[in-house]
Every structure is written in structure tokens, then in C-alpha cells.
Subunit: 264 residues, 6 copies
């Protein structure tokens, strides 16, 4: 899956608006939320900044101040916005329970966690570390997803369900990757420096699996649920167990992330 072009992006935004309009008509109790959050906004960036600031604001972080930060991030960084659009498509294509494009956008906390992280990463790169830490904490409270602001994520990322996911400071994720809930991309302990996993394109990591240390999970590898991985994983292989061992080297599908089969 590639990034969307301008026309595809605009079509996706229109589709989301249409889906939302239909929802307003069928479910009056949500009309208030859907108007406030989707229908009154003139652009996808505006809508996303609003929704994320609703989720992340609190008694000590004003929603208006946060909305401005988020909107600025999305308007100044087309890469964040494009990745968000690609993520929506990723959820739609990979999750059979995901019937519409607006579902992940509005209701999947894994999606919300990814987007707030990407903005956090932008803040980190601008050396606004304190604000990034503040928002990492808030995301961890609200979504149960704890991603260090320095971690780098590609596009087409899907974090399913999300609760318990932890991604460390020096982790790097490529594109078109799927993580289930409870996945840890953790460090190798106290020493500083590069100490977290590198995840290549197309990888899928099953629920509650832990990948630990500065190792590489190569292209289209598949890690079984509950596995603990402490060594490099070859491309197109499936690994399973505590500690994980290679049980297959001929993953059939090009991208396990798309197939989402976390069984062994």
C-alpha cells in the first residue's frame, strides 16, 4: 500500500463526511457529537486536530491550546496527514470488523494513539521534549498506549485495540506494519543509546508479543501472539514461543501485516 495522492485523499475525506452524515440521520443521540467533531469542519486536518484534542485535553491542558498545536502540526507536515490517511485505509483493508473509513478515525484508540504519537514525534524533533513527555503521558492514560516521542513510525501502521502497547525510544518502524494490543518493542535495559527493535515493512506482531533489544525484524516476518523475541527475525519467516523460534520461512502472503493472522 502506498500513500494516497491528493485526489484519493480528498475522496476519502468526502467519504468520511458522507458516512458521518448517514450516521447523524440514523442515530440522533450521536448527532451532536458528529456535528461537533466531523461535519462542521472544513478539512480533514481541522477535523483530526479537533478530535485528537477532545481525547487528549484535560483539566490541566486546555483543549483550545492543544487544538492549535495539533492543527499547526498537521498543516505544516503533510507527511503526518498523509500517514494518517494511509493508516485509515490500512485499518479498513486489514480489519474485517472495520466496515467504514470513519470507524478507525472516530472510534479506534490504536489509531488515535498513532496520530498523537506522530505529532509528538514532530514536537520531539523540534526539541520540545517537555510537551512531548506531557502528551505521551496523557496518551498512555487515555489509550493505554505508551510510545516514546523519539520512536519513528512509517505509514500504513495499524495498532489493533491498542491497550498495553509499549514502544521504546530508539525503535524504528517501517511502513505497512500491524501490531496487536499488548505488543512491546522494548529495550535491553539500563544502558543508553540505540537499544530498541527495528521493524521492517510488512511485519505483523501478534497480541502480547515482546520484541526486546536492538534487533531487526525483517520484511514481512510474522511474530506469533505471546512470543518473546530477543534475536533478529529473518524476512518472510514466522517466529513463535518464549523465547521465539523460527517455525516457518515461507510466509505466503507478501505482507503479513495485511493478513493479520497472529496464530502460529
Amino acid at each position: 500500500m502506498d500513500l494516497l495522492n491528493t485526489i484519493q485523499a480528498e475522496n476519502l475525506w468526502q467519504t468520511i463526511r458522507n458516512e458521518t452524515g448517514a450516521a447523524v440521520n440514523s442515530e440522533p443521540i450521536l448527532a451532536s457529537f458528529l456535528h461537533l467533531t466531523v461535519l462542521r469542519h472544513k478539512s480533514f486536518a481541522h477535523m483530526l486536530a479537533f478530535h485528537l484534542s477532545s481525547k487528549m485535553s484535560s483539566a490541566v491542558m486546555d483543549a483550545r491550546a492543544l487544538f492549535e498545536i495539533y492543527l499547526e502540526a498537521l498543516q505544516e507536515n503533510s507527511s503526518i496527514l498523509n500517514a494518517a490517511l494511509a493508516d485509515i485505509v490500512a485499518y479498513y483493508q486489514r480489519d474485517p470488523a472495520c466496515e467504514t473509513y470513519s470507524l478507525p478515525l472516530l472510534y479506534y484508540k490504536g489509531f488515535h494513539a498513532i496520530q498523537t504519537h506522530r505529532i509528538n514525534h514532530w514536537l520531539w524533533q523540534q526539541r520540545r521534549h517537555t510537551l512531548a513527555y506531557f502528551l505521551q503521558n496523557r496518551a498512555s492514560e487515555v489509550f493505554g498506549v505508551d510510545i516514546h516521542p523519539a520512536a519513528s513510525l512509517g505509514y500504513g501502521i495499524m495498532i489493533d485495540h491498542g491497550t498495553g502497547v509499549v514502544i521504546g525510544e530508539t525503535a524504528i518502524l517501517g511502513n505497512n506494519i500491524s501490531l496487536l494490543h499488548g505488543v512491546t518493542l522494548g529495550g535491553s535495559g539500563k544502558q543508553t543509546g540505540d537499544r530498541h527493535p527495528k521493524i521492517s515493512d510488512g511485519v505483523m506482531i501478534g497480541a502480547n508479543a515482546s520484541v526486546l533489544g536492538n534487533i531487526r525484524v525483517n520484511t514481512c516476518a510474522k511474530i506469533g501472539a505471546g512470543s518473546v523475541v530477543v534475536e533478529d527475525v529473518p524476512q518472510y519467516s514466522t517466529v513463535v514461543g518464549v523465547p521465539a523460534k523460527v517455525i516457518s520461512k515461507d510466509v505466503k502472503c507478501e505482507t503479513p501485516a495485511q493478513e493479520m493472522d497472529q496464530r502460529i
Copy 2:
């Protein structure tokens, strides 16, 4: 354990009121909460609808609107109310730390997640999918428990602690089942259709265990903590490991769910 009859249900509600009255006297700082949430309500349904709407309302979902939905669901569906009562008894009987009937009702987020799901399932059956998704998301944020509205649960269900539990769209759970925190009843990937586990009566599943795919865990089976199960589990057997293997076929107690021993 069976469902409570009308007299038992009324007695339970009176017991809860008595326990709450005692708490008001011993802990003035909670008097405000306990009056608002329990003592001023004329029925168990009214009280439960109020408490769940307190937990689930937010800046974008008015507590009054949600309370009405919940009250309607509980008043129109005696099965939801009866199952909630049976769940309370289940917690009381199975959890040695659960000293009173009001504890799970007021303070166990696993219990709250079950009840909000049952109402969500009723909404789903009425094809109010959008509202069900909205509330699934909110429950996942507040309780860390993510249950697809289409999943079907029996009565006498106990989800202990709750954080990280995920139950997929086509999962079906019988009665008198105990799940620890972090349990996944997950799918087998991208394909649509019936793809999640079926859990029979009396089953107990330990912390962070994953049961994946359209398989059956048969009556009174016991799944060890941290196990990953991808095949059917025979009745009265214990399975353990990643992947899980049968280590015993003579579970002594009739219902492991009641014994709650998740050790291997």
C-alpha cells in the same frame, strides 16, 4: 450457578443498599458518591444505569442521554439485568478479595465492562451499530476492555481486573466463565465471517492468555496464564504454553471458573 429468581434478586438489591448505608456511615468522604449513585435510586436497574452512565459519559456524550439509553435497555431486557445480578454473585463467590456484593457493582471495572457490553450487544442487535461502536471505544478507554458489540456473552461472567481484555466480533461465551486480565479471544486474521473462539460453560482462562481463531474451548477447560491456544481444548482439560498443550485431562472441580486457579 443459575440465574437469580425474583426474590433472590430483590434480596440482593436490599443487601447492596444495606452495605452502602453502612459505608456512608463509616466513610463520610464517600457519602456524597454513595447517595448519588446508590441510595437515592428506587431500583437496581435505575442504580446500574446511573453508575454506568457516570463511567461512560464524557464531554461529547451527555450523561443524561446515556442514562436514558441504559435505563431503557435494562428495563426492556430482563436478561441483561438478570445476567448482571448473576455476575455480581459470581464475583462474590469466586474472588476471595471480594468481601461484599457492592464491591464488583461499584468498583470492579471488569464488571462495568461486561455490563456496558451487554447493553452494547442489545444496541447491535437493533442495528444501532454506530452507537455501539462509539460506546465500545469509550469502554476501551475507560476500562481497558475492548469487546466487539457483536460478541455474545452468557451470565455468571467474571472478568477479573480487566485491563487488556479483547473479545472479537464472532466470539461466543457460555455461562459461568472466568477471564483474567489481558485475555484475548482473537481472530484468525483478515478473512471475514466466523473467526473467533467459542467458550463453553465453566471455562477459566488465565492472565494474558490468547485464544485465537474459530476454535472451541470445551466445558470446564482451564487455560494457563500466558498460554497461546490455537486449537480446540477438550472438556475438563488443562492447557498450558506457547503454543498451549494439554497437561491434564482430569480437572477436579466441576467449574474451573469458580476455582480461579490460573496456575499450571
Copy 3:
């Protein structure tokens, strides 16, 4: 690591104030939060009580009432305050991503969960069980960390990331212990009495590991991520797997908790 003496404690509080003052200058959007939460307070106890009550208050638990409870607990129990200070140093020393002392204090939900538990434990000892249960529930919702108020924790404790941690009623933890997210110190089922693990000084337990039953993990032992432990663990040993087996008996570092290497 020992508890801080009075001068060290005062120095730490001044360092935190200095770090916060610098943050105000570099990040105006946080100035409001940092003044309210840190700079306007005259003591560490006052500041901590305020911050915890911000996190734990809700529509049904007034922040002022909670602040008073927390402040009373911290002012009457120097051991709680001293342990909190030691925990801050523990995070700073063990977590390479923890660059300042104010980071865990302000932004690490594992730290917040430990401190609210310690006050909860004090309430429990005073037989204020109802309030302790109420606050256990709130902590579980906000932090995803569920610690029974009766559980006993030493000082120098670090719970990293936190989401999914469960600690049972009769668990006892020594000093200088590190737990990763998803760790369960669970019971052996339905029977009452002493049924949860005892964790000795210096132990480290990796992500999503479960330690079940009234067993002892002896001094400086190390439990690999994802492991399930149902038997005593010898001192200075490393255990791994489901079920966990000893793979090494010569842990080099004196305290694995300090090294934080959860790999196998």
C-alpha cells in the same frame, strides 16, 4: 540504593523546582500546568498530594476532598514520602530515557500508581476499606494499574509504563524492585488467605510476566518477559518461559532491578 536523608530530599525537591522553572520558560503552553502543579507549592508533600488528586479526582470525587486525604497521608507518614523520593531516584537511575527527576514525578503513570497505592495501603491499615477500594478502582481506570490496597510495597520501586500491572492482596514486595508493564503478581485461585507472591530485594520482572501463588522470588532474581512463574525462584537466578525454568544462576549485577535487562 537507600532512602534519602533530609538534605538529599530537600535537594531533590529544589532540583525538581529548578527543572520545572526551566520548562516553564521553554514551553509556554505548559506554564499554566507547571505553575499550578509544582511551582506554587511550598513543599514536596503538598505538590505530590496536589498532582495525585488531579489525576484521581472525578465528577464523583471532589478534588479538594481527595487532596486533603492525600496531604494528610503524606504529612503523617514520612515513610510514604521517603519511599516516593526513593522511587524518583530509582526511575532516574534505571531508565535511560528518564533524563530528569521531574519526569517520573509528573509524567510516569507507573510512578503515580505506586504513590496512590501507598496512600491506599495506609487507608487500608486504618480499616478504611471502602475508600481504599474506591481509589483502587479509580487508579485502575486512570493508570491501568490494579494493586489491591492490602499489598505491601517497599521503597525504590519502579513500575515501568504500567499498563496491565496487577498485584494481589497478599503480595509483599521488598525494596529496589523493577516491574515492567503487564506484570501480574497473582493468586492461586479461590481459596482465601496468603496466596500471592513475595518478591525480595533487587528483583526485576519483565514485561507481561506472571508470577502466581504464594511463592517467593528471591533476592536479585530476574524473570524474563512473558514468563509464567509458579514456583520459588532462587536468588541471583534468571528464569524464562511458560512455565518458567531457571536458565542461569549467576546473575552478574547485584540488582537486576537496576539493570532492567528483561531479555532472556
Copy 4:
């Protein structure tokens, strides 16, 4: 003006819904509020109870609890509901700036004050004095209108602008009366018993006028702005000044309340 019959009442409710639907389309920023407050409600009583509870709830008075009280009052007392409908028509007919029926209903705090008082009066008659005092205070804070719960109001009442209006315990108002802001229907001091004015049908009282003591303002009398009245006022007369004197006895219009000319 008489009370509306059933068909007129239903037509008015439909008109209000139509006006609101048009407003949603023309003003997206209000769509959220209008759906929540008007469009999703199945009856006028339901809608009014919701709107008043939005205005009157606070951190110490739960909106759900208040909504239930208000809904019960409106459903059990057709006279309160009928008077509210007549009041809406009164505003529409008398205030040239009142272009639609939904304007007073949604946006005129004088109207809100009248309706909350009528429910308060019902509570008072049921001897629920404490709750009535609580709500009198809240209305005085929110609307700047302070009406003792024992005061009796007819239908077709219009309080324009509202700020500063005070109506005492033993005041009795007939039907089709108009009061401008700042009007006082006050007592004659410390003695108990019947000590406040009686206002007959059709009377109009101008801004900041004070009517003091157990006197009667007779049918269709008109009291000039800023006047202070301490004696009975003859029917069809105009009084003016401090203290007020009769300056005319041939009020032309049948009901000065309808003409709203508070000039002298």
C-alpha cells in the same frame, strides 16, 4: 390570551422543531447544541426538562438527577406545561424582537426563570422546601432572577431580560402579565404573613419598578419604569414616580402587558 388546546400545543412543538431544523442547516456551530437539546427529544416536556436541567445543573447538582425531577414535574402537572406553552406565545406576541417561537424557549433567561420557578412552586407545595430553596438559589445565580418558591404565577407571563427581578414569598400573579428586568415585588419588612403584592391580569410593570407590600395592582394597570409603588393601583390606570402617582385612568389597550410600553 388563553391556554393552548391540545392541537395548538402540538402544532407549536412541531413549529419549534421545524425552526430548529432550519437553524441546524444554517448554523453548523449550533448543530451540536440543537440536536442535543431539541431535535432528539420526542416531546416538548422532554425537551424542556432537558434544557432547564442543562441550565441549572452544576458540579454539585447532577444533571441526570435534575432532569428526572423536571421531567416528572412536567409530566405530572399539565398546568405547568400548558403555562410554559402560553408563555412562549406571550413572548412571541409581545416582544417585537422575538421573531420565532424557539427564541424564548432556547435563549431568554426570563423564560427559563419562570419555568424553573413553576416547578419549584410544585416542589414547595409538596413540602420539598429544601430542594426548592436550593434551586431558587441556582436560578438566582444563573438567571439573576430571584423568585421565592411559594410565590404563585399564572400563565402567559413574560419576564423580559430578567436580570434583577425579585418576587417575594406571598406574591400572587394572575395571567397575561409582563414584567421588565429589575422589577421587585417585595415585602413590607420583617413581619411574617401575607406581605407581598397581588398582581391582576393584564398588568405591565416597567424596568426597575418596585411594588412593595401587600397591595393590589388591579387589572390592566401599567406601572412606569423606575417607579416605586406602595399603594393599590386602580384598574386601567397608569402610575409613575417615586413614590408612584396615578397619571392616567384610561389605559386604551385592554392589556398593557401585551403592548409593553413602559414609558410614562
Copy 5:
């Protein structure tokens, strides 16, 4: 009326607690508010600081911070506390609609405005002008009563209803004074210095009356409703009109403030 002695003060606090306890039993919907605001507090000062901070806190003024200020003021200044107790008695004695001592304390915004002003005056004397201005503004929004923090008030003050009352910077009020709503103690224009009225003991000023300039209203004088006073008022006299003229010099009662007859 004099200030209460220690025993009377303690008796009054006990009476208020007893009245509140009775209210809890008769009105369950208020039990939550009454426990939070009155019954759980150990002293009158604590209770009053809590209630005032509930009224005055906002999204930009934390209730905990405000409670601390208010509690400090009340604990360090027995004169503020004593005056508050005398005010309660004043309302009870003078207002025939005031049936209990807890009514003004809990529900009369005029009373709340007086008490917040007295604390504001204490802040002003400590040269904390900015905070005093902030709180003057908040009181004006919540109570509709605008008192400059520099104005000086005695004890036994009653402001009835309150809306629209304005008291200027250099105004000085003695003891046992009654002001109705809408009363202005205003300045003589742009010049600085002493420019507001001085009100002697026992004075009563009727609704919407304006007293303007550095003039003195002498002991036990009575000012009619709606009057405008720009010259000194002799003791024991009654003045009326725009501008006000003396209409009587033999006020019978010793203290018009106690009789509360604002008629002419």
C-alpha cells in the same frame, strides 16, 4: 446585635449540622451535596471555605487552590469568621422567609457575596491586589454583586437577594446594616481619593436605591426603594425620592435594618 461568643458560635454550627442532617433524610437528591458541603467538615471555617470555593472556582481557578486561600483567611482572621456567624443570625432575624440558619449559609447569594468580599478585603490589605480583583470579578459574575476589595464592611450585614448591588472602593459600612438588591454605594466620578458613602450602624437601604459620593448616612436612617441620595442623611430619618428628601425624622425602631421595611 453583637458578635456571637464562642459558645454561641459552636451552638450555631451544631444547629446548622442538625438542620442539614434533617435535610439529608427528607430530600435524598440533596444528600450528596449536603454531605460534601456540610456534614463531612469538622469545623464551620472548613465548611464555609469549601462552600465558597465551590461557588467561586472555575475552569481557570482551581477549587483546591481557592479552598486553601479561603481556609487560611478564615483560620487566621477570627473577625471574618465571627462576622460571618453574625451575618447568619442577621438574615435569620430580619428575613421572615428565612426559616433556618442554614438557609443563608447555603443558599443566599447575598450572604456568599459578603463572605467572599471579606476575604477579598483581607487579601487587599495584604496588598494582594491582583488576586482580589480576580475574585471580585468572579463574584460579580456568579452573584451579580460587585464590591471593590478595598471597601470595608462591619458585621451583622445582610444583602438581600443581591443582584445588582455595587459598593465602591472607599465605601465604609458599620454594623447591623441591611441592603436590598440593586443598591449602589457609588462614587462621585473621575476624581480619585475618598469618594464613596459611609453607612452608619443600623441603616436600611431599599431596593435599587443609589447613594452617591462621599456622604454619610447616619445611624438608623432608612432609604426608600428606588431613591437617589446625594447628601448626608440624618440619623433616625427616612429619605425618599429622586433626588431623595427627608420625609420623616422619627424612625421608631432602633434599627431599620432589622425591620426591613423599605416602603416609604
Copy 6:
């Protein structure tokens, strides 16, 4: 007084920032509010839009949505912004109790009411009547000032204290006008069309005065407190009484609004 030129405006904004910075240092409890509301903003327009949206937002009107409206209004209409700056200077020059420029901006509800009205008037001119009515109602609740959105106000306007002020639909106010609290610029009754007062430059209207009907108060006239005016008022004259009569035709100061002497 004229409008400020660009340099004066920028200097005023810098002065306000400096005053605020000093307040942060002297009053830590306000540091949070002052940073959030003033110091973190890059322009006066941004700051004012933020502060007004803090005052006017509510549970049914999102602060972010309102902030956007207000910011757009201030950025697109330099006349609104310029008038606001002139108003600040007007308060500073005319009110001897107004010691700094930030006082009216931050803490005077009369000032807040004027500014929200000017934006409301802009909305009205764009035919966004529904939103303007919504915000008129909110301003009336929060400030006690009720100004019809169609009313037209010049610059250099001061509404002192504000509570009870009412300004009708067809009222037109020039520049450099001062209104005390309780002033009514009211209509002549039921008939539609041009029916409210026209107020010329330099006029001052005292507390609780009512000016009624389509009459003109000419340049530099002065209306005494509590007066009721129903006829044109000549320039440079003083009128007093109910009804008001001319008592002087040689007002000495050029602009009574600046002198603020509302005595007779």
C-alpha cells in the same frame, strides 16, 4: 479620545504583557491563569479571543469552536479590535479604581460584555442571527448584560460594573460614552421598527437610569442615576428624576462620560 494608532496599540499590548508578567511574579496562584490567558499568546487579538471564549463557553458550546469564531471576527474586523483597545483606555482614564490597563481587559465584566456584543453585532450583520441570539443569552447569564445583537456601539465605550444593563435592538450609541450598571436603553413597546434610544458622543448615564423609546440623548448630556428619560435630552444638559427633567444646561466638562459624576 480617538482610536489608537498602530504604534499605540502595540505599546498597549506590550504594557498589558508587562503588567501580567509582574502579576505572575507577585501572585503565584494566578500564574496558571495568566500564562494560559495572556502570556502565551502572540497577539492581542489571539489573547482577547481566548479570554472571551473562556468566559462564554459552556457544556453545550465548545470553547474551541467559540475561540475560532472570535478569532476570525477580531482578525477580519480591525474596527472591533480597535474599539476594544479604545475601550481599555476609556476604563483606565475614567475609572479612578482602574489602576492598570489589564484590569478591564481581564476582570471587568462590563468590558467583556461590550466586546462579545461587538462580535455578536458582526455575526448579526452577516445574518447569523441564531448564533448571535445564542451568544446574547450566554452573555446575559454570565455578565448580567443583555444587548440585542442588532444594537450599534461606537468606540471608547465604558459599561461600569454592568449588572442589569439592557440595550435594545434599534439602539445606536456613538463614541466615548459611559453607562453605569442597571442602565436600560429600552423600547417603546410592542410596535416593531425603530423604537430605541440614540445616544450621542460623550454622554454619561448614571446607575439604574432608564432611557425609553426612539429619542435622542444629545452630545455630552448627563443623565442622573435612577432617572427615567422619555424625551430627547439637549446637548450639554443634565437631566434628573422620574420622569427626568433638565436641571442644568451648562455641563462644564466636554464629555461627562469622562468625568463619570452620576450625581445630580
